[in-house]
Amino acid sequence: MSDEIVFILNGELTRVSACDPTRTVLQYLREDLHLTGSKEGCGEGDCGACMVVLAELDDSTQTLNHKAINACIAFLPTLHGKALFTIEALSQSAAEAHPVQRAMVDLDASQCGFCTPGFVMSLFAQYENRVQMSPRDIDDVLSGNLCRCTGYRPIRDAALAVKNYPAAEHAVIDVTREKLIDLQATLGTAPTLTMQTSGRTFSSPATLQALSALVIEKPDAQLLAGGTDIGLWVTKQHRQLENLIYLGNVASLKTIELTETELNLGAAVTWSEAMSAVVSLYPAFADLFTRFASVPIRNTATIGGNIANGSPIGDSMPALIVVGTQLLLRRGDKTRRVALDEFYLDYQKTLLAEGEFVEKIIIPRPRPDQTVAAYKVSKRFDQDISAVCGCFAIELAPETRVISSIKVAFGGMAAIPKRATEVEKKLKSTTWDEAAITQALASFADDFSPIDDMRASADYRLQVAQNLLRRFFVATTQPSALIDVYNYGR
């Protein structure tokens, strides 16, 4: 059990004791260390000017796995046992510049330069992970980096050109790897941390047992996973969080297990990790997950966090609801399974009892004759919050095309992620045809009375919800019809 944060920063073993548990990595870098290369553009993980790269050891290969994250909403204690690179780790001299730096300069990819270190770090993570990127991959990798000057074309070109530069020889990477191996040997692969500063605590247990005990012992403590929402409570709402329990080091919450019947995801599995597992079962969810926030957010945000947070506009829930996802809840040594669509009671109210938490997300394998779809509609394609997120799962009798099962769920339409039960009732057991769709449309108004806000009006939401059912119908009945505007021309 450690009471100080120990991590590797730009190749140096670094120790921090007695810090405010909600001090952000960006505050620490800029204010305490005067490393001012990482910038604050928004303080909410949306612009990427603060991008830094977390490096973790791959258990099997003992190589570094690099992940871009937003320093502005990451709490410093979450770095415990890890390694961090900031822009200052890259070359400080033009003669020895990293390929990413060279390409950005050569292709005139900076103008005002304020966003530039963030772009460099996002691309640095990809480069060091030896990922070859297509133009399309680049758009995804950089969806969490905003640039207001260039119009992005030269940045895209620079990202593509990086592979043409001689490989970087970067001592800091090797040094970091060696020191991280040493550090993990000291701390153990599941490091624990307990800090107390002016009465405020940060606890990072390593086992499920320790976690369960802590949650019961401190029922008012705030569970912290990726922190991509909780970070904003601090930076934007100036909330003082008294007790934090961090889930990121609980090994069994980070497991991904595929059985004959289901996919089990530990609640602290990040979106980046969950994506490929879920998409391999349900390829139709690929675009929704690609459009879920941005790479740096997905690198930290967890599937359990998205679900337990219970936001009405969280994008995972409608998709997971229609495929019959269940949650395993734990309190002490007692567990129970609940259906995800029954988990939400009201706006940000869930079934969770005091001392209880989400341990696993259980996603059934696809059923025969089942067709699923997930449609996200937002003002901007990438890194935006849904105005409406509509998900569908249908099972049809092969010959008659009679609907044997249909599930329809929406985000953005109610105070919770919610099934369109009236629409489902109208459709169930009817033949999947135009007439059935037309019949069902009126039932949307029975299921939902959405709100007007800055993302969309109630009218638009209702209209789009109906139209997404039409889109799903066309998708299932006219496979050659062009319906996919998101991928059009790319």
């Binding site: 910038k39 553009g41 612009c47 103008q111 905003l146 003002k379 638009y460 039409r470 319906i483 021309g489």
Partner: protein, 769 residues
Amino acid sequence: MAADTEIKATGGVGEPQHHDSAFLHVSGNARYTDDLPEPTNLLHIALGISHHAHAEIEDIDLQPVLAVEGVVDVLVAADIPGKNNYGPVLDDDPLLSANLVQYAGQPIFAVIAEDVSTARQAVDLAVISYRELEPVLDARTAVAKKSFVLPSKHVVVGNPVEALTQAPRQLSGQTSVGGQDQFYLEGQIAMAVPGEDNNMLVYCSTQHPSEIQHVVAQILKRNSNDVMVECRRMGGGFGGKESQPALLAGIAALAAQKTGRPAKLRLDRDVDMIVTGKRHDFAIDYTAGYSDTGEISVLQLSLASRCGMSADLSGAINDRAMFHCDNAYYLPNADITSHRCKTNTVSNTAFRGFGGPQGMFAIEYVIDDISRALSLDPVDVRRSNFYGINERNITPYKQVIKDNIIHQIFDSLEDSSDYRARRSEIQAFNNKNTQLKRGIAMTPVKFGISFTTTHLNQAGALIHIYNDGTVYLNHGGTEMGQGLFTKVAQVVAHIFQIDMEKIKISATDTAKVPNTSATAASSGSDLNGQAAADAANKIKKRLTKFAAEHFGTDTSSVEFTNNHVKVGSQVLTFNELIKLAYEARTSLSATGFYATPDIHFDQEQFAGQPFYYFAYGAAVSEVVVDLLTGENRLLRADILHDCGKSLNPAIDLGQIEGGFIQGVGWLTTEELHWDTDGILKTHAPSTYKIPTIGDAPVDFRVNILESAENQQETIYRSKAVGEPPLMLALSTFFALRDAIATPANTHPPLAAPATPEAILTASRPEAAP
């Protein structure tokens, strides 16, 4: 001395030099105001703002704020020794409001604390009671209530009333175009450091250091020579750092003066977006008379802009909207009205284009409507309305256009973009597909270059050459990413024929060049390039005279070339010449000055020659729209743009591409949303959506017009490029409108921004006007 003097020095005029700070950018070493080493004892400030759009303040209790550990002091209006105003034109922008709040977000007090978090947390503890008043929130309501920040303006050309009665056809309509947040990545910031003898040194992210200097002096009740302002670079400005930073600098200086300690005010992004001004949104009404082929004979146009609670720069912005509501089109008869509406919203301010984009949006909407009414290709209607070369060339404000190249640009782009073939291919596509529809549009840009407030068209520069042959360059322009410093250094390198790396580009500093204008109106390189050239040429003249005398030859035989100087048969390095000149006691320092010639404007008559020249361009956009949701994608953009004889094609290309995408954002996803109480709900990137990399078209073909020397004697015959390309994005808006137009809905009532919701709403058959 066998150096090859035939090779050019690197970095001269016309070369695609990288931005001078490019490596500093990619290594995180470029310092912005918040990155400067902090003075010991530095205090941090947070703003306390109004949460009501329109109210009288009944009581303010700041005791709970002062009680917080780490809070040092608070500032309220009564603490201001001088003038409580930072408005650039009128005295209607209080730094801190004492009694009346006129928008939700108006600063009322400031907290000074030992650290940022404490200051920001303490702000929330203030207890303020208000008596709410009825707010006016939008331009149309303001017009109805005659609520204006400045008097309306009206221009009449020819005889519009009679022309309308004689017009074969006429059409009326109304639309609107939204505002836009600048969303510079670096938020607003200022740090004030008090010195001896009443001195105040202010570091500020500002496009207008001289204005900061004057405003701070007025607020502190000091003289301008007590205040020094410095800015090496901004992390983006786009007009948002023209008048707005004076608020931050004023408060930081006030805190520094009151406490005697250095003080910094850096706004959190949300506060920045709530407190500071944006692009004006406009309500537009029109009636046009035109021929069967779409030639406009008369246009009656009313432009009503939401200026917010004060005048700020709204006068000049709305003037520029009027100056550009012709875009590239001749209007033989016109009746143009401009209302500058006072509303209880944040005071809108400069943003790239400065009213020009909204004026152009209006005329392009009219032309689009006329084309659709006649079932003609809008490209043909646009072309038939273009200004002539030697006739049909007088603008509504009586300037004769002498440099019209829009025909050439339009023809060339129509051809290179394959516009006609693509239009028929799109038609075929749309006939086949029911859910996805494509659209295409080509639009021109003609943008007037100069500050329309004539006296602002001046600039100064200061150049030193040290006796080791290196050059120190300073001028009044500011660097916000547009590459101004690089371009001006290229001018100086070119004049001395030395490598650009020999020139040290220095921070803009009011102590070096006084009384500068804002770096705005796209004028940066035109003005400062000339001023720097003036200074460099003065020194060069002295060096030439010295070299001729020293080597006993004629000045005509002295030639600067590739870091060397030829003097008759002698060749010496530039450094050697400098050393000799220094030893011979030659002045190696000079100031330079420039004032744009030939411009004048009579505000009363709204007539004259406000612009030195025009910059031109055109763009073709192709889009696809989903009729089920209104979601859409920009598939391809072709651009041909006029930079005159480009000073730096790499930097100019960046301005064109970046301006275009910023314009696309303005017209599509960037929606500012206020609730019915006048509270801005889109005040962070989570809710306000500027383009991401995925929004940039995959197929993006951008060219700079070749062989296009400016007809005017601008610096090396180049043209300004900062603002004009933004308006190329009008093509994207009209391509979206094209995609959703149907025989049943020929004129989809699409307003900007064309969000998915706006598109879906306008595309419904029942929406047809």
